[in-house]
Symmetry: C2
Subunit: 233 residues, 2 copies
């Protein structure tokens, strides 16, 4: 348990908050810290072997991204997944898929596509291996790389946040995620990348929309089945 605390003295000055932030962020997105988990500052400070000050700064950052909720003067906990307003999430997700892909078709440079193709290969591997967790993260990385080729930091920022939310959401269901459908996603990705390469903005946008709607429909189907893990609303 003190594998992290033992880094106490070999840590570079100023890296403290970033370490805590990165680790907690991953644990939240991977549901190792499920929604509603209490966040105890002193416990964290013991775990990471540092004082509460850098811990707190990391928590402020996490709160800024909506990953934790802080009640003033009272406890702070991992934020809930809002199943009631899910359509807001899907609307935003689909729109960001569309617009980032379209902008990528317009503004990408050839060298951008190398990275994108590498990530698409990773995604294909994950699908082939039926590794749902890897699928989730490689899919997010792929689409984020496409978004970055579109070179609009405002859209990329929101999209990144939405994909993270999705990572948390999908993690809820990843057991039921290994049917044959994802294989279609690989082909869809290939078509999207081709449309980007030929700078066909209209086609890229349309394919991205269809792709996004596929994904949303898939998630909604999972949501409807109600075989989700026991996590409070």
């Amino acid at each position: 348990m003190d594998s992290e605390a033992s880094l106490r003295n070999e840590r570079k000055r100023g890296s403290g908050v970033k370490v805590v932030y990165d680790i907690l962020r991953d644990e939240i997105l991977d549901l190792e810290l499920p929604p509603g988990s209490p966040i105890d500052e002193v416990q964290l400070s013991e775990r990471f072997g540092m004082s509460r000050t850098p811990i707190r700064e990391a928590l402020v950052r996490l709160a800024g991204e909506g990953l934790i909720d802080t009640l003033p003067n009272r406890s702070t906990m991992v934020s809930q997944i809002d199943f009631l307003n899910m359509h807001s999430y899907f609307d935003a997700l689909v729109l960001m898929y569309r617009v980032t892909t379209q902008l990528a078709a317009r503004y990408h440079r050839p060298e951008d596509l190398e990275g994108v193709r590498a990530l698409q290969a990773d995604f294909a591997d994950a699908v082939e291996a039926q590794d749902a967790l890897a699928m989730i993260s490689t899919n997010a990385a792929l689409h984020l790389a496409i978004a970055e080729a579109g070179r609009n930091p405002y859209f990329t920022g929101l999209f990144s946040r939405l994909l993270n939310e999705g990572r948390r959401l999908l993690r809820l269901y990843y057991q039921s995620y290994n049917d044959r459908l994802p294989r279609r996603f690989v082909e869809e990705h290939d078509e999207i990348i081709a449309a980007i390469e030929t700078r066909d903005t209209e086609l890229a946008e349309r394919l991205a929309r269809e792709h996004a709607e596929q994904i949303v429909a898939q998630i909604q189907k999972l949501l409807m089945r109600g075989d989700r893990l026991d996590v409070s609303l």
Copy 2:
């Protein structure tokens, strides 16, 4: 200057960071702290009469929203306005105008429009009074109220951030902003509100787009004229 510091003892526990955050945020958006201004923690702690700890947490929040840039172990300063990638900003702004207005037409409740109309009246007053600063802020408040009637926090959040950026940007030019054109904006607002009320999503979206493009063209014209204040790129 110690009018803020004198609140030392009458301040409620926990309100410190919020006070500092709000004040600094306003000062940055109003260009009282122009881009590039150095942020000195000890100076702020003296000014607000509190220790550096709450100051720092406020700065972390500001950095999270991109309003200040923090070089590790080195100085932190008010973030620059990125004139080179302005088109990214305009793209995002126009899209958020469109989508939030469209969603408002779909999802608003009648009582939402009361608030919207009140803010539109404020905007009309500001235009009538040729008060450019008030125009900027009332216009932002109006469109944000419309966005909130659309009930998608992801879009509202991004839009809010963009409108803030715009507030900072327009503040650069507000002297040259008092020609006759804004009067058209009042009428356009009225049309948009009417379209929302009749739940004509398509019309609302189209009007919002035209409105946004008007505004963007107006800003770009100001940018091109080059008569901007002396602020470093």
